[in-house]
Amino acid sequence: MSTAFAGTGRLAVSMLRADRVRVPVWVLVMVAFVAYAAGGIPAVMGEEGLQARAEVMKEPAGAMMAGPGYGIEDYSIEILMANEMLGMFAVMVAIMSLLLVVRHTRAEEEAGRTELVRAAPVGRYAQLTAALIVLVAANAAVALGMGAALVGTGMEPVLDAWVFGAGLGAVGLVFGAAAALTVQLSSNARAASGMAGALVGAAYVLRAVGDAQAPGGSVLSWLSPIGWVQQMRIFAGLRLEPAWLAAGAVVVLVSAAYALAARRDVGAGLLPERRGRANATPAGRTLLGLTARLERPRLVWWAVGLFVFGALTGSLAGPMSEVMREQPQLLAVLGVDPGDDDAMANLVSEAMGMFLMFFAMAVAVYAAAAARGLLGDETACRSELALSAVMPRAWWLGAPLLVSLLGSTALLVVSGVGLGAGASAAIGPAAVGDFALAALAYAPLLACWAAAAMLLYGAGRGSAVLWVALIAAFVIGMYGRLLDVPQAVQDAEPFSMVDAMALVGGDGDWTPLWVAGIVAAVLSAAAMIAFRRRDLAA
């Protein structure tokens, strides 16, 4: 049996070497954010600000975005970190971990390098084990780095600060283990990451809905690995029991992964590969048709995910308005009469508009992905083959861009419909159409986003800038006021420039939409020009 692990050490060393920059960057970004937030927030908000923030986080909508709200009665920077930041970091660590595992297992196998390695005296479990060793190392770095950052910024109790880091590491291990299982199932690395990513999404949705249902979360929160770390009541009467759930999940997932790894052929997945048609459909003989066909599965999964998340979010509109009615002071500040149903509905629909903005940000991830596909085509020499046919370079970029624009527009409508469908009980049936239309207001902005990705690709640059910008937009949109980001920067954040709900109401400002449309057109043209001027990578 021991021979099944032969070569693990060497493989682990070479994996660690390959990750020597990537993983530290992930960790440092998170550590820097914690250090900044922990130092900056109390200075900016003061005691009163914190308490006001706590009021917001008590509402279902607040709980949904943040966490179960332990210790919220006496809001401090520690409680804020555990309640609002822990969930977001958990998602980041989960994504880092699942990508790490897929990168070192199925992606290697799909590329054909595993075949070369396994023909050497390397055991059946060596690659998986080495990847898990690297996973543990990366999450240990997360745990120590985050713990040290919290302790270093003076968070107390110190034990809770370390548990904050360790809990994040545990979430990383759970989703890394989940990825270890999904890479056994699919022979395709992207499908394996997709499945593991869907699990992260599901875990986030479960805890979001669970936490919104009741203070301290409901059963749903306990079904989510992200919920487990939030249920450890860090800085609010620490309890370690939920860690057992994480440990159990890791054991189960890893055992299943090993069991499957032992029986399958190298290169094969356990999900069957189907045969396809012998001839392309008429649409499949055009670039546009081909791109649309290749895009279809991803589009469908995104649509399903966004609709479900939208509907769940929308269904919170009911409880949200009830909670608001119970808080006359808050309504007084907002200038709304609790007896006025229309005004109350407006208030709820505005809050829903905020969620719509976050959905639009999610769709931006999708919109930028088309450029990544093109990059893959180029490295696999498919671009070379296609461009040797009668294929203008501009259209080689244009067709995927068009498909990505149509796809993201469709996703916007789907998330609007989902949100409206969920909210229609509280706001009225008209909500479905209203939200769908409102969502469309983000389409020009997403066009900009997709075109910017294309420009980076066309110019032969990496797209890291774009992802950093998207994360920055998200952080500013979500935490801008909390972190006291200068107003000018907050105003410059593109997603909040679009006041979607006001546009549907008939009194919004159309200027940002026109400007975004023009910028998108300019960026697209620039992308095509840049792409025509550069060499293809060999």
């Binding site: 021979t3 099944a4 032969a6 070569g7 060497r10 493989l11 070479s14 390959a18 590329a111 054909g112 390098r113 075949e115 070369l116 390695v117 396994r118 023909a119 050497a120 005296p121 390397v122 055991g123 059946r124 029986r263 052929d265 190298v266 290169g267 094969a268 069957p272 590969e273 490295t379 060999a538």
Partner: protein, 319 residues
């Protein structure tokens, strides 16, 4: 002596597709065994089963007397493998990739590594993603040939090499044999097979059709004859050994079964023979014969042949 590779009635299915269907293959120690077959015949699948990368569905497979699936790690200490399509680590240099593969195998012969790099004219300092197909293959070849192993499994190892490098490859294989290694060489390059292989196995549709030395295989096919002599075509075409006889002007063309030449010559005895050329089957003809013969045997290629017949019929109809 115990065979290095012994495969009997091997079956491997991928879902509903039967990739290997009762394949037999025996490779004796010290021989260079040519493993031939048309695309999709199952050569690489067989090799992957031998490497323990795929699990056989039926049949027995022995490698050095061991089970390639169960004893994979121990067996792999004694072999090296070069795939037909080499993928390298994009960010590792060629030299690093060679050392990684060698290191996993328990070390390389450093002197031979340097020597091979020179002979294959390979720059080991370039990154994996910048190599051409031929250079990627050289990386895998150097890693394999620089290790002291008993068996080299080479799956179309020279498909990207230029003729000069092809010669270097043949030299290095001969040296490996001189060191006592056994070689399983899957190849489409007939000159390479002819130059290197002591025995060959031809497979088709997942089963072996023919195995033996090249001269044995030659004996199984017909020689072609061009004859200018005072003899009536009928006198020859009645012979069992004579096939597809055609006459043009004064010449007769026909093929003769191996061992049937004597009968032809006894008909010609005492006649005026102006010219007679008999050509043994070329390697190409040999393979075309065996690849085609297997197609007759198996029904799976029937569709293709049916389509061919269809075309002929249509042509006739138009005429």
């Amino acid at each position: 002596m115990e065979p290095v590779i012994e495969i009997e009635k091997l079956v491997k299915n991928f879902g509903r597709v039967r990739a290997l269907d009762g394949l037999n293959l025996t490779v004796a120690p010290g021989e260079v065994h040519g493993f031939l077959g048309p695309n999709g015949a199952g050569k690489s699948t067989t090799i992957r089963v031998l490497l323990g990368l795929l699990r056989a569905d039926a049949g027995t497979t022995r490698l050095f007397g061991g089970d390639p699936w169960k004893d994979a790690v121990d067996l792999h200490r004694r072999l090296a493998y070069v795939p037909g399509d080499v993928t390298l680590w994009p960010k590792l240099t060629g030299g690093e990739a060679i050392d990684l593969l060698g290191g996993l195998r328990g070390g390389l012969n450093a002197t031979r590594r340097g020597e091979l790099l020179e002979r294959f004219d390979l720059d080991p300092t370039r990154k994996g993603r910048t190599y051409s197909k031929g250079n990627r293959q050289k990386v895998a070849l150097v890693a394999a040939l620089a290790s002291d192993v008993d068996l080299l499994i080479l799956d179309e190892p020279t498909s990207g090499l230029d003729p000069l490098m092809e010669l270097v490859f043949q030299e290095t294989v001969r040296e490996a044999v001189a060191r006592g290694a056994t070689i399983l060489l899957s190849s489409h390059i007939l000159a390479e097979v002819e130059a290197l292989c002591s025995r060959v196995t031809i497979i088709r549709d997942g089963a072996d059709v023919q195995t033996g030395t090249l001269s044995e295989l030659r004996r199984l096919t017909r020689s072609s004859v061009v004859l200018d002599a005072d003899v009536a075509p009928d006198e020859l075409s009645v012979l069992d050994a004579v096939h597809s006889l055609t006459a043009d002007d004064s010449r007769l063309r026909f093929s003769v079964d191996d061992g049937g030449m004597g009968a032809v010559l006894s008909v010609l005895a005492g006649r005026t023979v102006r010219s007679l050329t008999a050509t043994p089957p070329s390697l190409e003809e040999l393979f075309v014969h065996h690849y085609g013969a297997a197609a007759d045997r198996s029904g799976s290629d029937g569709a293709g042949r049916g389509a061919g017949a269809e075309t002929t019929r249509k042509a006739a109809h138009r005429a």
